[in-house]
């Protein structure tokens, strides 16, 4: 099996979370909808990238990953906003998204459209780690039930692990560090990313299982 197919199969581990999310979608708390969209989008992007690589269209992969990174940041930040992390202030949420988009646009303009925008992705990863840690701390303080049955717990842990590893592994890709790389080295580094991705995808699947049901509210008026 070639490395492309191997990495593709590992990345499909997000399917568990996506399928469970789609099954539970109508009955779940709407605050978690962005997370299910994120899982489904990840599945679509992995399939699309695999098809592109099989058809020797590697030059488009960077663009696909860049726009996925932007959508990923929007959806996950939206989820934190729904959880009340920004004190439910829409302006804070909009401000963060606009800043992220501006950074993305600037770095894309400087580096070119076809290359993966690592700088923007790493900055976004830092932001998502901080959001996850804040949400985790709030949950530790406020959660009154078994923490293992809380979807936020698994999502936050998954995100902290994934984005921390992502930053550590991909910092060497930043052009200003000027590190020379061979294909063998890149494959080994990608393998670390792929394994951490599989682990986190399984955590996400557990998280989807524990997503709370839609609140029972009487709508009589």
């Amino acid at each position: 099996m070639d490395s492309t197919t191997f990495f593709f199969l590992l990345s499909l581990s997000i399917l568990f979370a996506a399928i469970l999310g789609v099954i539970k979608f109508r009955k779940m708390d709407p605050a978690y909808h962005p997370f299910v969209y994120y899982c489904c989008l990840a599945v679509l992007v992995e399939i699309l990238v695999y098809i592109l690589l099989l058809n020797d269209m590697k030059y488009i992969v960077g663009t696909v990953y860049n726009f996925f990174a932007l959508a990923e940041f929007y959806l996950l930040t939206r989820m934190f906003h729904n959880w009340g992390l920004f004190k439910r202030k829409k302006n804070t949420f909009t401000g963060i998204i606009v800043l992220s988009f501006l950074l993305f646009a600037c770095t894309l303009y400087i580096r070119g459209y076809n290359k993966i925008n690592y700088f923007s992705k790493i900055v976004n990863s830092f932001a998502l780690i901080f959001f996850s840690i804040s949400a985790f701390n709030r949950m530790i303080q406020n959660e009154r039930n078994n923490i293992f049955k809380n979807a936020k717990f698994w999502i936050c842990i998954g995100m902290v692990i994934f984005f921390t590893y992502y930053i550590l592994v991909n910092t060497e890709q930043l052009s200003f560090l000027n590190i020379k790389r061979t294909k063998a080295f890149e494959d080994k580094v990608w393998l670390i990313n792929a394994y951490s991705n599989v682990f986190v995808n399984l955590l996400y699947a557990v998280a989807v299982i524990w997503i709370p049901r839609k609140k029972n509210i009487i709508t009589l008026f």
Binding site: R144, I147, V169, E172, V189, N216
Partner: protein
């Protein structure tokens, strides 16, 4: 891979392992502290609620069993006074009327503190009685829906009754509503207490954040003690809906 890449790769692996261990330690300690704080929190809330309810029971019993008979005795003594003076008779009549009012008020206070109906006939009847009383006193139409028989422990009955009381008082005091609906139902070993009003609503999260919603915290605490979940959905000018879901 050349030597430099190998060195870089090995360093990267070491960093990842160290970060992994730190993350694992952080998560394990956070979970342990959360569990300890949760246990302490539940014990504290339970103790507070138990103390409060015991104290209410004691005061209600003292008012009803000691002050009530004493006032009746005073009234009897006053009515037994032998006088033909119209001024004295008027004073005796007025005093007797005041004592009647005091006795009625005492019964009401005693009943508010710990309703006899709740202890003797259960939650459903107590809520019906409370709603009837509230409708008469505050002119707020309240619709109560409960189609099943409720077999609950006394602790749960008391907590649910207090929740209904608190929500009704909040609606009367703050909501400016013209209708309140209270529904209790049992589905799959879970009890749902749901309420909805058509009042002016409020911003739930800012109330909780500003720490001004003591009544809301009380509702949350009582639900937590029963191992349940409490939800409130309120939008300015669109009314308020509360849901309490507890395991049976």
């Amino acid at each position: 891979m050349d030597t430099q890449e190998k060195e870089y790769y090995n360093s990267l692996l070491i960093v990842l392992i160290v970060v992994g261990i730190v993350l694992l330690y952080f998560i394990i300690t956070a979970i342990r502290y959360q569990r300890r704080s949760l246990r302490l929190h539940k014990e504290r809330i339970r103790a507070e609620i138990d103390t409060l309810e015991n104290e209410r029971k004691r005061i209600a019993a003292d008012l009803h069993d000691e002050l009530g008979p004493l006032l009746s005795a005073v009234k009897l003594q006053i009515n037994n006074l032998e006088t033909t003076d119209p001024g004295d008779l008027q004073i005796i009549g007025k005093s007797s009327g005041y004592i009647d009012n005091i006795i009625t008020k005492l019964r009401e206070i005693s009943n508010d503190l710990m309703p006899n109906t709740l202890l003797r006939k259960g939650l459903k009847n107590a809520v019906v009685e409370f709603i009837d009383h509230s409708q008469d006193a505050y002119k707020l139409p309240v619709k109560f829906i409960c189609e099943q028989d409720l077999q609950l422990s006394q602790d749960k009955e008391i907590n649910l009754y207090r929740i209904v009381q608190e929500i009704t008082h909040n609606t009367i005091k703050h909501a400016k509503a013209t209708m309140l609906i209270i529904k209790i139902s049992i589905q799959d070993d879970r009890l749902f207490l749901m309420t909805a009003d058509n009042g002016r609503g409020f911003d739930y999260f800012s109330k909780i954040h500003d720490n001004s919603g003591l009544g809301l915290r009380n509702l949350q605490s009582r639900t937590e003690v029963m191992g349940g979940e409490f939800n409130c959905v309120s939008t300015p000018d669109k009314g308020t809906a509360y849901t309490v879901e507890i395991p049976l």
